[in-house]
Symmetry: C2
Subunit: 229 residues, 2 copies
């Protein structure tokens, strides 16, 4: 499987990263920009988004990375990544409904809890990705990028080629776009994990990885065996 | 990391596989026996367990593999693997409470549902492994072996060395025993995934793998990146 071109074709949509100043959002934005995509980081406060964009441009001087308030960022993009904490997720998504309508919306949100025994998946009736789909019914919601470590994303390795990006969604074309976008992270297509409801399984798996990280003092990720790549 | 010796030391406890005639139980029993453990397969009907044991001995003529009714099998063993369908799980475990008391009990049970959209994790308050721990409070319950394909287990490869066995549990010594037992499957230690409650995440992940199997026509498994093995 071939990696992506270093510069994206003209038709590539600009990507917005809502929550782009958090470690996961900034790390993924760095990967998208590093492999040729134009990116607009969103934050509650536009100035903070500008700062994060400047930090990425410092490492990638030729990259097309800017900052904006979340709603403005989402409005500028054809594909919007939600990289926000689960706490407050539904209210934020509802507030962005107009800007998200009709777009490919990628959720990497992990609804986790932490207590003295460590991390765990919050018991929910539906995943964060399904909540976004319910709140913005015209959005083409895809779940992906839950399991890649923010530290590794922000690192210097060209690709996280020992990991897989698991992608779930009910809109086949939107899912395929995200499967291809995963090449910017792993150097190969993401893995089609199935229907959007399987985000209920993908999101809390991050609790297991955090637990492994603590036990083994590492930055773990997930790979799927039995595939030809 | 070294693989296990071909014959287990004298002190190795005999392993019972409750549900040993199902594909997952039989496949795991085959792996345990292939790498030196004595195994007793359990089934509701002892004759069926005998047949499954004979099928394993046909492939491993020197192996110590026998069959028995589930309760008799559990009573003979120091370590008991629960490899039964989730439907009827709680009733079966409750009926075996005496034979399971005080023992290391390993659950590879996957509470899944299937409908026209494919497989999904059943929405549960607690995992199958946690249910077993609640039903038999003295049992030292460990969750493991959820994600290895029955077909691959029954295959001829010496080890499933592209996969990891994720192991969770609250009893540190019991968990360590199962981490070492995983060597019979993958040729290396299982991965300590954390507390028993994380079985809530491990068990339904199998729905994702079944979905991947269908999409890619393969037998997928899980590997954890970022570990030194």
């Amino acid at each position: 499987m071939q990696g992506p071109p270093r510069r994206s074709p003209v038709s590539t949509p600009r990507i917005a990263v809502v929550g782009g100043t958090g470690p996961q959002g900034k790390g993924l934005a760095y990967r998208f920009a590093r492999h040729g995509y134009g990116v607009v980081l969103g934050s509650r406060v536009a100035d903070r988004a500008d700062e994060a964009a400047a930090a990425i441009r410092e490492r990638l001087p030729e990259a097309d990375v800017t900052g904006a308030a979340n709603a403005d960022a989402a409005a500028q993009a054809g594909l919007v990544l939600l990289a926000v904490p689960y706490d407050g997720h539904d209210e934020l998504v509802a507030s962005l409904a107009d800007a998200l309508a009709g777009k490919v919306v990628v959720s990497c949100v992990n609804p986790l809890g932490f207590d003295k025994q460590g991390p765990y998946g919050l018991p929910l009736e539906r995943s964060a990705a399904e909540s976004a789909a319910t709140l913005v019914p015209t959005a083409r919601v895809v779940g992906a990028f839950h399991h890649v470590s923010a530290v590794t994303l922000w690192g210097e390795a060209d690709y996280l080629d020992h990991e897989d990006v698991l992608v779930c969604g009910d809109d086949v074309d939107a899912k395929q776009q995200v499967i291809e976008l995963a090449r910017t992270v792993t150097g190969r297509d993401g893995v089609d994990a199935g229907r959007l409801r399987l985000a209920r399984q993908l999101e809390p798996l991050t609790a297991v990885l955090i637990s492994v990280n603590k036990r083994y003092k590492t930055r773990s990720g997930v790979a799927i065996s039995g595939l030809d790549h």
